[in-house]
């Protein structure tokens, strides 16, 4: 079993009062709560903080934790002192193995002792995982490797960490923030309680060309000035290949050209649209001849790109 220094996690002394522990928890909870925090690793940090507080806020659990000793470093392998399990843990007595036991599960079980020993159904733990997939995977569907470490009670009533590996098949049609569910694939229920669910929150990985908004996709379509003025037929990338797009003459920068049904597929059929956003780009190193042509154009044209200024500023 690995030691965790719950006092250090909360940033309090070992002799901190219950009030100090609560204040320290509140401060860290505001900082790391996954529903409100944008800190990197907020979810993991909050889990550590919550686990520490769950144990230290309860006088019985805190006493049991303090009896484990204080001379360990976080992450260090250790065994509870002789007799500890008889005094605090799952009744049973006798010599118990603490291998594969997570400290959090052990302390969760301290209060759950009565419930576990009795026949109250306890639902299994729900897991929530953020799954990052590419736009291509969202388009075709994909399979994700899932590795969970779930808590299960052994025959002596000790909660043990059990690895669970499987694949989750995601049908095509996922979009940013989409939620999926694998019923019963979380932690095992106890005493007839339902098995927990695994919930997947989809996050789309950034793509070098396409930017998603729901099932719509946006791509920048760069045009040369003469293509925008005269119109053109240009090749535009889509998620699975390319298509030709007719750019009408007189196309302006910022205009959105719609390619219907070329966005991300939807779960129940159909697909979003792809929008090509026009940008006019100019050659950064024109040749002397090109410059000459532009000068001629400048001399001959009557086009005034800033005429709207004159309408306002007289």
């Amino acid at each position: 079993m690995k030691y965790k220094d719950y006092y250090q996690t909360l940033g309090v002394e070992r002799n901190a009062s219950a009030d100090d522990i609560k204040k320290a928890y509140r401060k860290l909870a505001h900082k790391y709560h996954p529903d409100v925090s944008k800190e990197p690793n907020a979810k993991d940090k909050f889990q550590e903080v919550g686990e520490a507080y769950e144990t230290l806020k309860n006088p019985e659990k805190r006493a049991a934790y303090d009896q484990l000793g204080s001379g360990y470093q976080s992450g260090q392998d250790f065994r509870p002192p002789p007799g500890w399990e008889t005094q605090f843990a799952h009744g049973g007595g006798g010599q118990q193995s603490f291998e594969d036991v997570d400290l959090a599960d052990l302390f969760a079980g301290l209060v759950g002792r009565g419930a576990h020993a009795g026949k109250f159904p306890i639902p299994g733990q729900d897991f929530e995982v953020t799954a990052q997939i590419t736009l291509e995977q969202a388009t075709r569907g994909t399979e994700l490797d899932i590795n969970l470490s779930v808590s299960e009670y052994d025959e002596t009533g000790v909660p043990r960490r059990v690895p669970r590996m499987f694949k989750a098949r995601i049908a095509k049609g996922a979009s940013e923030g989409q939620r999926l569910r694998l019923p019963g694939k979380g932690g095992k229920g106890v005493n007839g309680g339902r098995d927990g669910d695994l919930r997947l929150n989809i996050k789309l990985a950034p793509h070098p060309l396409f930017r998603p908004d729901g099932h719509e996709l946006y791509v920048d379509l760069t045009l040369a000035p003469w293509e925008a003025v005269l119109g053109a037929s240009v090749e535009v990338p889509i998620l699975e290949g390319t298509v030709r797009l007719k750019v009408p003459a007189g196309t302006r920068a910022g205009q959105k050209l719609r390619l219907a049904g070329r966005g991300l597929p939807k779960p129940r059929g159909g697909a979003g649209d792809l929008y090509a956003i026009v940008q006019i780009v100019v050659p950064t190193h024109p040749s002397e001849h090109e410059k000459e042509l532009y000068r001629k154009l400048a001399e001959e044209t009557t086009f005034d790109p800033r005429s709207h200024f004159k309408e306002v500023v007289k």
């Binding site: 509140r26 909870a29 505001h30 709560h33 996954p34 529903d35 409100v36 909050f46 919550g50 639902p123 399979e143 490797d145 590996m165 499987f166 694949k167 989750a168 098949r169 995601i170 049908a171 049609g173 940013e176 989409q178 939620r179 999926l180 569910r181 694998l182 019923p183 694939k185 339902r194 669910d197 919930r199 997947l200 930017r211 998603p212 908004d213 729901g214 719509e216 946006y218 920048d220 760069t222 910022g254 959105k256 779960p267 929008y275 956003i277 940008q279 780009v281 950064t284």
Partner: protein
């Protein structure tokens, strides 16, 4: 090693839950859920029906409410305030993402 493959289900607006299912799946007692309904933080699909049914978004809200309540010891009105502010932030983030998607990058 033989790895099993399971089909993930879409969790979307087509799913509906009874109040009891909402309580079971969110971990929030029915009495507390009723308070959220009273404050309109959770709204049944058809409020006039005798047995209220709730859309999948209500389950997301109920789970969030349960986490916030147990992690911050919030009472019902504080919880509803926190939920409504988080909802507004989420809407603004969505709009920001939509604008970001439509905003062209600089190409040279």
């Amino acid at each position: 090693m033989n790895i099993e493959i399971y089909q993930a289900e879409w969790f979307d607006e087509h799913q509906q839950f009874s109040l009891a299912e909402l309580a079971d799946l969110s971990g929030m007692p029915e009495a507390d859920l009723r308070q959220l309904i009273e404050y309109a933080a959770i709204v049944p699909v058809d409020p006039d029906k005798v047995e209220a049914m709730f859309g999948a978004e209500c389950l997301v809200t109920a789970r969030k409410a349960q986490r916030l309540r147990s992690d911050f010891d919030l009472d019902a009105s504080s919880l509803v305030l926190a939920l409504s502010l988080l909802e507004r932030i989420s809407e603004l983030e969505k709009r920001l993402q939509a604008l970001g998607a439509q905003f062209p990058k600089i190409h040279r």
